[in-house]
């Protein structure tokens, strides 16, 4: 079970892992909240790669996690992005100026990138001035779609969504400094339901390997 925002890198990682070990890994993408509900109700997942820290924590508290397996596998990076070129000048001025019709970010109630975005707005003191133009996506993927279809002028997404081959190719963006928001730590755990704990441990070990850490960076995350 993997949070959707980490879907792309995870697919590559798993492919590499399968090639190297001959083990087969089935991926299931989705929202972290739903996975928690499912795992609590007996879903047969071996490992859970959440988009945040609180969901794995909740599972741990519920005693569904093998003790000591929780670790941070990636740190998300928030980016302000517009699909229009030169709309954002590589800094936050645009955001503060407020000369845009709509601003999108993920729903802070359910998405960690949403919480981060809210924090950034607060720090820059533009919450009041902009809240009438907010549009919330259910998650970062939807937020990305709002922007990429030009329905929204700009918004906060995950760097991993707009990066390819290590650089942002479309539109204009501002990589939000880490100082403006709490790090988006993404945790993973091994679940007690796991049918093949050994392989799962191998995968977790592989996640910490250099190969994977580079991959993660390539996809716009910080290495943990």
């Amino acid at each position: 079970a993997v949070a959707s925002n980490f879907g792309m890198p995870m697919k590559q990682i798993v492919a590499e892992f399968e090639k190297r070990t001959g083990n087969i890994v089935n991926l299931s993408l989705g929202s972290s909240g739903r996975f928690v509900a499912q795992i609590v109700n007996g879903a047969p997942f071996s490992a859970f790669f959440s988009a945040d820290q609180s969901n794995p924590q909740a599972l741990e508290n519920a005693g569904l996690v093998i003790d000591g397996t929780r670790f941070t596998y990636a740190i998300g990076r928030l980016v302000l992005w517009s699909s229009k070129i030169h709309f954002i000048d590589g800094n936050g001025e645009k955001l503060v100026r407020g000369d845009y019709a709509t601003l999108a970010f993920a729903n802070p109630r359910v998405a960690p990138y949403g919480i981060a975005a809210e924090e950034v707005l607060k720090r820059l003191n533009v919450t009041k001035g902009t809240n009438h133009v907010w549009v919330n996506g259910e998650n970062v993927a939807q937020t990305y779609q709002f922007i990429s279809t030009k329905n929204v002028d700009l918004g906060f997404v995950s760097l991993s969504q707009i990066i390819s081959d290590g650089e942002v190719k479309n539109g204009s963006s501002w990589l939000v400094p880490q100082s403006l928001y709490k790090p988006i730590l993404q945790d993973a755990v091994i679940l007690k339901r796991s049918e093949d704990i050994e392989t799962t441990r191998q995968l977790m070990l592989f996640m910490k390997s250099g190969y994977v850490r580079n991959k993660i960076e390539e996809y716009g995350y910080f290495k943990p």
Partner: protein, 232 residues
């Protein structure tokens, strides 16, 4: 029991469902009539198209709608030139999206009801001097009443419950596009079950009572017709 936010979401949902159902009844009825009675060979393809939005998952449908209704989509350019702006993230946008998705649930029951009227009542009305539109209103509509009841129930309930399309083109804006289905979804996703349960219970109860009244009314009306002895 319900927070003001939840109440607002319920209100918005009811407004949306009422709008959508009304619009679908208005436009779906002539469409259903045409599908049911026209000899044209276009009825088969059009009938198929009506049911088509169903096979796409709502969010996917919503995504394509987002593309189409956005500033670079055909629909978006149309609405923009008409001076209506673009539709996503507005209540009107939700209405359009939900209409598309709930269309078959309104059209199909009405269509069956129209089909089962048969020619005779319409012939009688024609003889009595009723023009086609007059016949339609005074004969076809009343005789198709059970179909309309079903269409209203399915269309209304489906619009209330639907959230995929709404999520995609709505943008979760309070009082504008944050309907109760999205609200409930959020509660569940956020593992806020203490909020989700009462909301779900309220919706189910409300709907149950409404449906019960509707069905009961229909039953009583139907029974009044055969008051003579007891049929087998």
């Amino acid at each position: 029991m319900l927070t003001p936010e939840n109440m607002a979401a319920i209100k918005l949902s009811l407004e949306l469902a009422a709008c959508v159902t009304l619009i679908l009844l208005i436009f779906g009825t002539p469409l259903a009539w045409w599908l049911a009675r026209s000899e044209s060979s276009w009825t088969a393809p059009v009938g198929a198209v009506v049911a088509l939005p169903l096979v796409l998952p709502p969010t996917v449908l919503g995504f394509y709608l987002l593309l189409a209704m956005g500033p670079s989509g055909y629909l978006g350019q149309l609405t923009a030139t008409l001076g209506l702006g673009t539709l996503p993230f507005t209540f009107s946008g939700l209405v359009v999206g939900s209409c598309l998705y709930s269309l078959p649930f309104v059209v199909q029951p009405i269509q069956i009801a129209f089909q089962s009227i048969g020619n005779r009542p319409l012939e009688i009305a024609a003889i009595l001097g009723a023009s086609p539109i007059d016949r339609f209103i005074t004969v076809a509509l009343p005789l198709a009443k059970p179909g309309f009841l079903t269409a209203t129930i399915l269309g209304f309930a489906h619009t209330i419950g639907e959230f995929g399309v709404v999520l995609m083109i709505g943008g979760n804006i309070p009082n504008e596009t944050r309907v109760v289905s999205v609200q409930m979804y959020d509660h569940v996703e956020a593992l806020a079950y203490d909020q989700a349960h009462p909301l779900a219970a309220a919706m189910v109860l409300l709907s149950f009572l409404t449906l019960l009244v509707l069905y009961f009314y229909q039953k009583v009306r139907g029974r009044a017709k055969t008051n003579f002895g007891v049929s087998i």
